[in-house]
Amino acid sequence: MGWDWNYAIAILPEMLGALRVTIEITLLGSLVALVLGLVIAVVRRARIPVVDQLLWAFVEFVRSTPLLVQVFFLFFVLPRFGIVLGAFAVGVIALGVHYATYTSEVYRAGIDAVPRGQWEAAAALSLPQSRVWTGVILPQAVPRVLPALGNYVISMFKEVPLLLGIGVVEVVNKAKELSSETFRPIEPYTIAGLLFLALSLPASILVRRLERRRAAV
């Protein structure tokens, strides 16, 4: 059984439709990860007793255990507490929370890299705390870590197929469906791989270019 171009072209529209789902989940998941990660980093910076230790434990626990198990956990456990969400939403939340633990560390490094003098100057001007963050610290900390955040968005894109475990029809699940309907696995899975390459290679090149420009400044 070799490569069949007619079949490959015939299934392409459906594969592209599934790619769209994958991209939507990546974008929404990234939004959760970027916002929640920032919140975790800023709250941890305040070093509130107990809250800080709890957040630390949460971040370490989530980072050290498989995303797939966390996906199943949310999928099976949330309904027990009366929270009934579709597989798509569970996927966005699981990816978003998992990656928030990564991005919180990235933000932390960025915040730590802002010179002490900036904090002192902001305090000397008696800026309110919210202005210190939004007007002084974050505008310096966030651009520095953009390449690292970009890399995590690309990683997340490649982890979306884990959601086939809970029935989300993303690219790989679509390939699985097609190959079990037609008994031809070669074309669907190869196209799935190529679609990932086609998006993540240019994205990585973009991030690397951003990185180099930051390094040059």
Partner: protein, 234 residues
């Protein structure tokens, strides 16, 4: 709670497969990371091109696609059906080996040039320069990154449940969830704890290797260890 012993027994039943997958994956990762990483630094353009293609290809596609490709497509193309666990080890190794290659390349090129010049001045052979001067320092540099990579690999073993390897995740989701629905929170907490313990074990081994490596190179403890010691003394 009365089901606790049975739940624990079923999950522990999956531990050997998870450990074999992780250990096999780690061995293959080390092998591929060093081969591809050193090839990336080679003077031969062809070798560099092959290695670069391997690295970009495996870093650019999803691990699940790689797994399904090797498990479902390869048999149709070449007639070789891999055993699920073996297919899993191969994919875990190929995928993480590509990331490891960049770690090896980075660490080897970060060894100060003066080390090589010094060794040349002492008329070390090129072979000795590579293996007795550059590599020992580079390997020590790589250990923390490899620690992270191995933990990623351990977490990735969960995807083997997709091709029905009876590892911890498969045991939990396919066997326990349908049968012990009332203890669902307990099942997941225990599953996550098993992975956490394995991750802590990996970190402990890597830290131990770091300490041995630092001692053998005659290095002082790391900066953070020094700060801790100073803080303790005050």
């Amino acid at each position: 709670m009365e089901n606790l012993p049975r739940i624990v027994a079923v999950l522990l039943d999956g531990v050997p497969e998870t450990v074999i997958a992780a250990a096999g994956g780690i061995l293959l990762t080390i092998l591929l990371a060093f081969s591809a990483g050193l090839a990336l630094l080679s003077e031969h353009r062809l070798l560099r091109a092959i290695s670069r293609t391997y690295v970009e290809f495996f870093r650019g596609t999803s691990e699940v696609v790689q797994l399904f490709w090797i498990y479902f497509v390869l048999p149709v193309l070449v007639g070789i059906q891999l055993l699920p666990l073996f297919a899993g080890v191969v994919v875990l190794g190929l995928n993480h080996g590509a990331y490891g290659a960049e770690i090896v390349r980075g660490a080897v090129s970060s060894v100060p040039k003066a080390q090589v010049e010094g060794a040349k001045a002492l008329s070390f052979s090129p072979r000795d320069i590579r293996w007795r001067v550059v590599m020992p320092q580079a390997v020590l540099e790589m250990l923390p990154s490899f620690n992270n990579l191995f933990i990623q690999l351990l977490k990735s073993t969960a995807i083997l449940s997709f091709i029905v390897v009876s590892e911890v995740t498969e045991r939990g989701v396919q066997v326990l969830v349908p049968n012990f629905g009332d203890d669902i929170v307990l099942i997941f907490v225990l599953m996550l704890l098993i992975y956490l313990v394995l991750a802590v074990l990996i970190t402990a081994v890597m830290r131990w290797l770091e300490r041995i490596g630092a001692r053998r190179l005659g290095r002082r403890p790391s900066a953070s260890a020094r700060t801790a010691a100073v803080a303790a003394a005050h």
